[in-house]
Amino acid sequence: MYEHLETAENRDTLKRVVVDPVSRVEGHGKVTLLLDENNKVQQARLHIVEFRGFERFIQGRPYWELPVLVQRLCGICPVSHHLAAAKAIDQLVGVDPENLPVSADKLRRLLHFGQVLQSHALHFFHLSSPDLLFGFESDIGKRNIIAVLQDFPDIGLQGVKLRKYGQEVIRMVSGKRIHGTGAIAGGMNKHLSKEERDTLLADIDQILEWSAASVALIKKVHCANLPYYDDFATIRSNYLGLVKPDGALELYHGGIRAKTAAGETITDHFDYCNYNDLIHEEVRSWTYMKFPYLLSQGKEDGWYRVGPLARVNNCDFINTPLAEAARVEFKAHSPEAMVHSTLAFHWARLIEVLHCAESIKELLHDADLLVGELVAQGEKRYEGIGVIEAPRGTLFHHYQVDDNDIVTKANLIVSTTSNNQAMNESVRQVAAEYLSGRELTEPLLNNLEVAIRAYDPCLSCATHAVGKMPLQLELRDVDGVLIDKLIKHDTGDIERV
């Protein structure tokens, strides 16, 4: 809808405004606006300016390092990378998800619920709540978690403690709050001890209460600001995510479901091992982040959104009662089959927090966490694909190994990458509808960041490709005269012009 704002004509004559860095997101990105003489926005882009290269440097390493090595992509959702890689290397040792020992499967699920709980709590309370509680254009001095703790101490503290609980779950299952071990090829390396289980059980009812309160809070904030919250940064998109066989919300393992903006099914229960038949990625010259799209829908219309909004939109129901009741209310607030409001990401995210809290409570009463077989083993394979619903959306890990157990090829499609086109569309929508023609000020520019922040992007995770990025190198003399110019195309070909 706002594609025309991706690339302006006569760019040299336009005024440039840069938001750099985009704050209160994971990783480094910037937004550039090109304005004409009447301050009308002619171009708006979200650029991802950091560069990682994980896909390349894990080549040549032994496969059993992958869950521990690739989780270093991120300090916020390392567990998601850890588990996606673990699911992939399960296949390398001949263990399919249905053959994973029951205890290992439940321990991984507990680990993942802890992860999603802490990551969502961090995002909502620490990063986004200042915008939502004080206003998008409020004083910059107010837009931080410290101000939230001062003005809304109960809410701020609950957020901090919710995150802490999720991290404690992670620590007890994987040994550390950040970058632990835990998942190994074919299973897990330890059970939960009875003491650990009892410690987590002691606080879970309080966590459930706070999680329910957070859903009530975001519903109140969202509905009190209608129709603004339903319009701001809102775009109509396809949605993609995993679901259980019965259509329920799923975070750890399931088939892929994709729906159109109208709620029509594009694909359902699609085996993620064939993801290459479903999704392709496009490279553009002005950002390090790729643009995935659904092959069947084509490059122009095939982009989609992932993450809490996609998952809660896509699923038929949630299998925990409080979260399901919240989902029903969430869907009912919109007259459409799918909720398209970008700010509704927050609402969906907190419904998932509630689902995680309920699921953790249920799991903690399961004796399989404490005893039972931990590791399975099968026939060696040469290719493994692991897909999981990370906090920010569907995460794909794909590896190939040789006879010596060494990784020869890796492909990662990280959640935030899937939201790349959508985030750019939202930025362009805000630029066109809320900023264009106005004198730009810092509070006004925060609107762009609010739009990006709703997606909870992890830019560090999403910029891992190497060797495919287009590059232009110019050599100029002291007077600025161009002496030489090299262009590396996205095919890898280098041209001198």
Binding site: P62, W64, E65, R72, H179, T181, I184, N189, D405, I406
Partner: protein, 238 residues
Amino acid sequence: MTKTITLDGKTIPFTDGQTIMQAATAAGEYIPHLCHHPEFTPHGSCKLCTVKVNGRNCSACTFPAAEGQDVINNSQELTDDRKKITQMLFVEGNHFCPSCEKTGNCQLQAVAYYLNMLDDHFPLFYPHREMDASHPDVLIDHNRCIFCTLCVRASREQDGKDVFGIVGRGINKNLAVNSASGKLKDTDLDKNDKAAHICPTGAILIKRTGYQVPIGQRIYDHHEINEVTLLSENHHGE
């Protein structure tokens, strides 16, 4: 009559033929080391066990204990030197502890913690070193080799083989294997050999076993290397 030396002012006994390292260990005194192992001929190459004997620097693992020696082990000067040596070992290789499967069980890492090494200090070399994953059960990651020669000695002295050797000099030194192809798969190394289990770092590893020991149950998770070493070296062979 018992013969004695003084170690940091404390009188400790020794028997003829013992090195300073052996006497100190038997007396419950830890001298930091990496290339020394009580089961194998001393090598004296890592220099971490450098002590002052009557004012002169000596390697405790090779220097015989003798009546009248006044040995300094714990001094700020020696700790600083040992820390520098450890920092040099780190920067000369590619030691990425956060993702290394030996982390928590690694003597190099444990010594660094013991010496309170908080940074690399020296510029990292980032040397280009290959891995040899050709053997079905054992992997060599040359990035982590510190040339302690424990695998060389274990193979010769205990396994009765001659699988490993150090070739080249200075900065070009590297760990080589005894096969025409230069690949580990073409040697007679077996995964049960002592040489396959002796590496103090993560340079020689048994394949497909990484990360199986949970955090909290690894060797150095709860005890520093001085405690672990004194316990194991005073009870080896029992």
